[in-house]
């Protein structure tokens, strides 16, 4: 625990929330701690708590300050926080392994070569490296159902672009700082667009509107533009398959 002497920290966020941070940089253990702590908050079911969430290394709680004052809630959070070593907690249950067909490069994902050069790899090496690394959903955020996945090998510690790409489409796989993001909506981005999938992350009309959950793992398996186009037709999963992860 010595490495985490400054952490975790509890701090009010806005007028009606608390942020419980487990680190100021991403680590596997801080990510697990955040997920486990949020799970414990949900199970605790404290009165006045209205919503919980996580980001890469922190948990968040929104509450009604008229029903539960800050001091009382902070005391409860401190007590829960000191009840165990959150950095040693297990990942959430019910995790799944996904295989998501991905077109690397081509005009569907025009920045593969540029990203490979930044990582010091050939294009073939880059595709092998990404497609054979099983990455984990560290958090869902920014846009609906959108996963931040990691962690890639150290060569992928490449910065974001200084200029934004105007638009990448939904289903775009982008890379920076040893992480992948799969975009759920069309958006501008500073991350490099290296792959394209037909996987719909957000399905507002469906019973299960959000496809991925934190803790799920993903392999982005290579496919061709022709096969992706066929898989896209009528299938919100775009050819993706999933199974339980033990």
């Amino acid at each position: 625990m010595a490495a985490f002497s400054d952490w975790p920290r509890i701090c009010p966020l806005g007028v009606d929330g608390f942020l419980i941070s487990f680190d100021n940089r991403l680590s596997e253990s801080a990510n697990r701690a955040a997920l486990a702590f949020r799970d414990a908050l949900d199970r605790a079911g404290w009165p006045g708590v209205e919503e919980t969430s996580t980001s890469l290394a922190s948990a968040y709680l929104r509450f009604d300050p008229q029903a539960q004052n800050h001091a009382a809630l902070q005391a409860k959070l401190e007590s829960l926080l000191s009840s165990r070593d959150w950095y040693a907690e297990n990942l959430p249950g019910g995790r799944r392994l996904w295989h998501i067909p991905t077109v690397y490069g081509t005009d569907l994902a025009p920045q593969l070569e540029e990203a490979a050069i930044a990582a010091g790899l050939t294009v073939d090496q880059a595709v092998t490296s990404i497609s054979q690394t099983r990455v984990r959903v560290q958090t869902i955020g920014f846009a609906p159902g959108q996963p931040y996945l990691g962690q890639l090998p150290p060569c992928w510690d490449i910065p974001r672009q200084t200029k934004l790409t105007d638009k990448v489409p939904a289903g775009a796989l982008v890379v920076a700082i040893r992480q992948l993001v799969l975009f759920s909506v069309t958006t501008p981005t500073g991350w490099r667009h290296i792959g394209q999938t037909a996987f719909r992350l957000f399905r507002p009309e469906a019973d299960m509107p959000f496809a991925l959950r934190p803790g799920d793992e993903v392999l982005f398996t290579p496919t061709t533009p022709e096969r992706l186009a066929m898989m896209k037709a009528g299938d919100p999963d775009g050819g993706a398959t999933s199974g339980p992860l033990s």
Partner: protein
């Protein structure tokens, strides 16, 4: 037969809005909902109904509307020029819109977001527990001319003709800010400079957030741009890469990597949303305890808004016009709440 509101002419950006979708933050979906939440509450008070009903949000200018049956309407938010059957009607008030008669809503005189509420609320199918469009998430879309919107039952259909003094929020001013987890990334002197100088709302802005500009140098934190992506809540003030503040609104993203200097109080956010480009704004830092107390007082005030309704007083010219279409629609003078109240 289902009652309907017909949109003959939709201005750009016309959307259905309500209180949004709380509870999906962990799935990356921000709450969204009406840009000016107070305007929702004012509309509900004017119509004597719950503030959960869906309403039309108009950006800058309104459009042209008609109903298939007599309907109560209320107009709130940014004051716009409105007429019923050609006669000017009062803003921040409730009116009867008789069947087949045109309601025209023109340009806003100040502010950005105006609201058209109907008795019974717009009754489209809900998506994830709400009817509001969340444009950034791809839920719903701007309404197009010609659309017919189903309207719910209105049990108190004869209750209209009231006025509420609008809480002034359309011309900028000072908003209160509470510190947050990243305020300490900025030097105390930078925070105090932030809370001292005058800002203007930039031309860049929408339902996701608005950019602020000033004549001073930009703001920079010691953490620079290496902050880990963190949970965002509406009201958060991001300091973006060029040192300018960006205040996030209801339809913002759920996480972000720019350092945040603080968070605007929810009860002051309508002032940010309603500020037009060029409008002057200042930020004032308050303690958490002061912020909680301000929210409590505003929540109480909003709950009792109905106590502040006043009967609409018409000038003789308006009464003449109003009588003419009351006769057409068959509504008798006895149904007029103004005569009941005095």
């Amino acid at each position: 037969m289902t009652r309907a509101l017909i949109v003959h002419r939709a201005s750009p950006g016309l959307t259905l809005q309500d209180a949004g979708r709380p509870g999906y933050l962990g799935f990356g979906l921000s709450r969204g909902g009406a840009a000016d939440r107070l305007a929702l509450t004012e509309g509900a008070a004017l119509l004597g109904q719950a503030d959960t009903h869906a309403t039309l949000e108009m950006v800058g200018t309104g459009g042209e509307f008609e109903t298939t049956g007599d309907m109560r309407v209320a107009l709130t938010g940014a004051p716009m020029r409105a007429t019923i059957d050609g006669a000017r009607v009062t803003w921040n008030a409730s009116h009867l819109l008789p069947a087949g008669v045109r309601l025209s809503i023109g340009a806003a005189q100040s502010g950005n977001y105006g609201y058209l509420h109907v008795g019974g609320g717009i009754n489209t199918p809900d998506v994830l527990g709400a009817r509001s469009a969340h444009l950034a998430a791809g839920i719903g879309a701007p309404l197009q001319s010609g659309v017919r919107l189903p309207v719910g039952d209105d049990p108190i259909a004869k209750n209209f003709g009231f006025l509420l003094d609008a809480d002034p929020r359309f011309d900028g001013g000072t908003v209160r800010v509470v510190p947050g987890p990243q305020t300490d990334l900025f030097d105390a002197a930078e925070v105090s400079r932030f809370a001292t100088i005058a800002f203007r709302r930039d031309t860049r802005g929408n339902r996701m957030g608005v950019r602020m500009i000033c004549d001073d140098p930009g703001f920079f934190s010691e953490a620079g741009l290496s902050v880990l992506s963190e949970i965002i809540v509406p009201g958060d003030i991001q300091i973006t890469g060029d040192g300018t503040p960006f205040v996030l609104l209801g339809e913002c993203q759920t996480t972000g990597g720019y350092p945040r200097i603080g968070s605007v109080l929810p009860c002051d956010l309508p002032r940010i949303a309603q500020a037009r480009p060029g409008t002057g704004l200042r930020f004032r830092m308050v303690t958490l305890a002061e912020a909680v107390e301000a929210e409590r007082r505003e929540a109480t005030r909003r709950k009792t808004l109905r106590n502040h309704l006043r009967p609409l007083i018409r000038d003789p010219h308006d009464i003449h016009d109003l009588l003419s279409y009351q006769l057409i629609s068959g509504v008798t003078a006895g149904d007029d709440p103004e005569s009941e109240g005095t």
